[in-house]
Symmetry: D2
Subunit: 312 residues, 4 copies
């Protein structure tokens, strides 16, 4: 579908179900998409960090976009990550995901390379010049090790280079500067500011953000849609209660951390997939190599979080 300007609402970063052999499980992926669409989400983001994009081969990435875009058939906008190290490699992904049906692409700062901010800006300009669809910036310093400054983002927004920002930086003060700038600067229109935080959706929307891209919305999409609607309606007390319920549920992401055998990222993705498996949405909770899988005990702990939230 034509990409809305600005994009608003809940846009889950869709997990990528895998088979035990670690191929894309197309049937489970379709079921996951239905699970999200039925809950009322406003768009889908594939090939992001929660999608294990960093772990998927080019062939697998293409299959994911084709599957999701094909199944949706234009009912919702599909954003696709084009996650790679530098401009030339990102451009190859942009070509591939748009050929496969993506309505917009989501692009980080260069990584591995350690860019100067002027080079990061140049990167987004070059990508946008060659992209057939709108480009959103993905601010995720934990992965790429540079932070997108508010001035850089707003400047690129004003120049029509960027159509939006997905902020997974954890820096709410910087996020607010973008939100306020996008809302008040006369030279910026139709720019979508989305938080990637599971835990700060209510306060982000209260600042004026357009929407959210929370990994946990894979597990409980209906709750994030409710939360979004409560915020839009100005019912901030019930919004806070819903947000706090989701904060408690989010505790599942640490299920695998106590064992000292995996990273926080592996634990979080493992927990989301275990939850989707326990809820019957996907067939297999396996994560991509070389991530350590959750143990049986750790999976049981995820189940307890689901039960406490009334989801099991």
């Amino acid at each position: 579908m034509p990409f809305p300007a600005p994009l608003t609402g809940v846009v889950p970063p869709v997990c990528t179900p895998l088979t035990p052999e670690r191929e894309v499980d197309v049937d489970s992926l379709v079921r996951l998409v239905d699970h999200l669409v039925d809950a009322g989400v406003h768009g889908l983001f594939v090939l992001g960090s929660s999608s294990e994009a960093a772990y998927l081969t080019d062939r697998q990435r293409r299959l994911v976009v084709e599957t999701v875009a094909g199944h949706l058939g234009g009912r919702l906008p599909v954003l696709a990550g084009a996650i790679d190290m530098t401009t030339p490699r990102v451009l190859d992904h942009v070509a591939a995901v748009t050929a496969a049906g993506a309505d917009a692409v989501v692009v980080t700062a260069p990584f591995y390379a350690r860019p100067h901010p002027a080079e990061t800006a140049r990167h987004f300009r070059r990508v946008a010049e060659r992209s057939p669809v709108p480009v959103l910036a993905y601010d995720i310093p934990a992965c790429v090790h540079t932070k997108l400054g508010a001035d850089l983002v707003l400047g690129l927004a004003a120049d029509g280079v960027l159509a939006g920002l997905k902020d997974s930086s954890g820096d709410q003060a910087g996020f607010r500067a973008v939100v306020t700038g996008a809302r008040t600067r006369p030279d910026i229109t139709g720019f979508s500011v989305l938080t990637g935080s599971e835990l700060l959706v209510d306060t982000s929307l209260a600042m004026g953000a357009d929407g959210a891209v929370p990994g946990l919305s894979n597990v409980d999409p209906a709750a994030y849609v409710r939360l979004y609607d409560l915020c839009r309606a100005g019912d901030r007390d019930r919004a806070r209660a819903e947000q706090e319920r989701l904060c408690a549920l989010f505790g599942m992401v640490r299920a695998g951390e106590a064992g000292g055998r995996m990273s926080g990222g592996s634990s979080a993705i493992g927990a989301f997939k275990a939850a989707l498996h326990l809820r019957g949405v996907i067939d297999c909770p396996v994560t991509a190599e070389p991530q350590t899988p959750l143990s049986a005990d750790e999976t049981e702990l995820v189940g307890k979080y689901l039960a406490a939230a009334g989801l099991l």
Copy 2:
């Protein structure tokens, strides 16, 4: 050629000459290979950081390996980087570069993903299981944001997973632990320990390292071969003098930093390429997008370093 165990000597990380349109300049690449081979180097490392591997598309990477391996025709071992974020993507590169003629692959820890050390070890094991050629670890925390511990490297060496280490960490104490372990542990044989530092080749070899992979050896390969030979001969005073001459020459990597428009990496690669252009080895000094190019003044400064070293 069969990969020697251990690999020793000077193994330049070969720059990737580009055309003004930023395609691989095959003719210049062949001339650069001849320039290095004629100087007496002991192997070539393509698709490393100095090769701008992070900036090359898959197609360009393949062309580089085919060109270099084809031109060498087995005269020297060709190591090829398989630089990507995680195991599945690295395995695709391993398949591609070995099909194109690489004699060994060089692999970093996972990045973008932030792996636990147990996951990094699992990564190297999975890659080695599937690689048809020996695997060397590439320790480059400035790019991948984790450090390979000496115990991890030595354990993987003892298990036959790794055939060597290219250490670009700057941590000489950790490097020494690997060098000493590789030399003294009875369960480790044929393991090659190579420093990636331009500035510490003499002291690294004095510790017992097997060789060096210095980016600056693109510019002055004969000097690094001389330095290696002096070290092997135990002539440490002349070795130090040669090393200090190269330290002075290395100052060129900061040519572009003063302007505040580019990263240190862009400045260094830009300087190497400018020097190769000024010395008549390659046709065009351009670097890949989105790196800021050196200005005319900055290029002139590179020329002064060359002149001071008697290279122009």
Copy 3:
């Protein structure tokens, strides 16, 4: 005055006016205290980061506490930083500032030393055992290079070790975990959760925080008191407008950054002091050694921010 449990409201981290010779300017300090008290603030925090505590000698620190506590005469609670590297040194400061009249002490994790979390917990326990007044934790990873985890803080709160938290970490998700835990855990009572952010007071209070310690409240204390009252009254739209006005004013902290001659901290403190000087509250805007002072142009820029906010 007896320290309230929990402490609520606006608690400015009081700047330390200096003479041109860089001695504590007692007269200006008293005027600054009056300026804050007259605006209706709820407590004062001396010897924090905004107070340049890191730059003050022990003699100067004592004079600051004596001056402020003496002038207040118990009208408001006085919190005093006991900023030093480790437990024994912090305990000396605790003794000094409580002898000088502080009603509570504010203590960071150990720094210079790089503590394990178990050692940080032990640090707070040892300090609390020996402190005659309540102890608040000061989470400021930008200065001390470790982050206080929510579980650690809440555990120490439940054990009665800590009476509150001043959070200058910028991590609103972690802050929320402490706020929610302090509000809902039955084993925690009277624990005060304060944000150190100038820019997120409205959203922090909306989460359930007790108050704020914003450096910018030195410059415009009345606005922060208004903001606090609007939040308490549930008038979130007017609160947001007031907050956004303060966000714009806060731009002054970058007045000195463009010149490339000073740190962000020096620019921020320099701007606050320049603003207090321009508003006629303090006699001299000088900052402590070795901070680079603002230039005349940079000071003029601060004046423009004040004028735009209607403060000049």
Copy 4:
């Protein structure tokens, strides 16, 4: 004694023995000094990181300097750390330690505050202007979180601000730049370049360094003196063997790390003190608060390292 220019040789950073009540154990400190002097060391550095300076109160710091300087009576130069956050506080320590008998002071970049390099330079200039004795820079980014650049150090050396550098940065390439600059620049004379690394003394001296300040020389000072003499004599093979023996012994610093209860620093200091206690030099191995002490098993492991090195 008059501070030699340049200072050369082995200069142990003297541990600070404590009583079980964590007061300075003066008798043990005197025995430790004798143990070092008898081994032939060339100077003593008190109140450095290995001395737990960050954990000592001002009163304790003074007692340490008085004890060591008084006991030495001018037989060897005494360097004293003046470790604190900023210029005014450092100047108070400079006054105290020189009054107590120090022949030179050792000063880090500002910390807690996050200085701009121009402010760090200003800091050293202000300290040197007011110090009655020579000032050495202490480059220890692991503790102070900024790195002293080679150009900054050499510039201050040329201006007579700094009399030397203790480099605990681990950055041998940067260290080499200072070593080479100090040796070759005509505007620098009498500048002492000392490595703080236990593991790289042979290669540092081979580069042209003047000496070493290794924490492990508390435990085995005679070996470091032997190593220094072998290096000076040009007997590099025996030097390497001695260095590698010390590298193996240095493994003791990790004795406490496996338990997950203490920092690397606490483990290292705990191991040095346990070794000195086991060797009969000091009465009590206790470390300062809030460091976790070594367990009995961990202490036994330290003993095994000593036994393997023939020291027990």
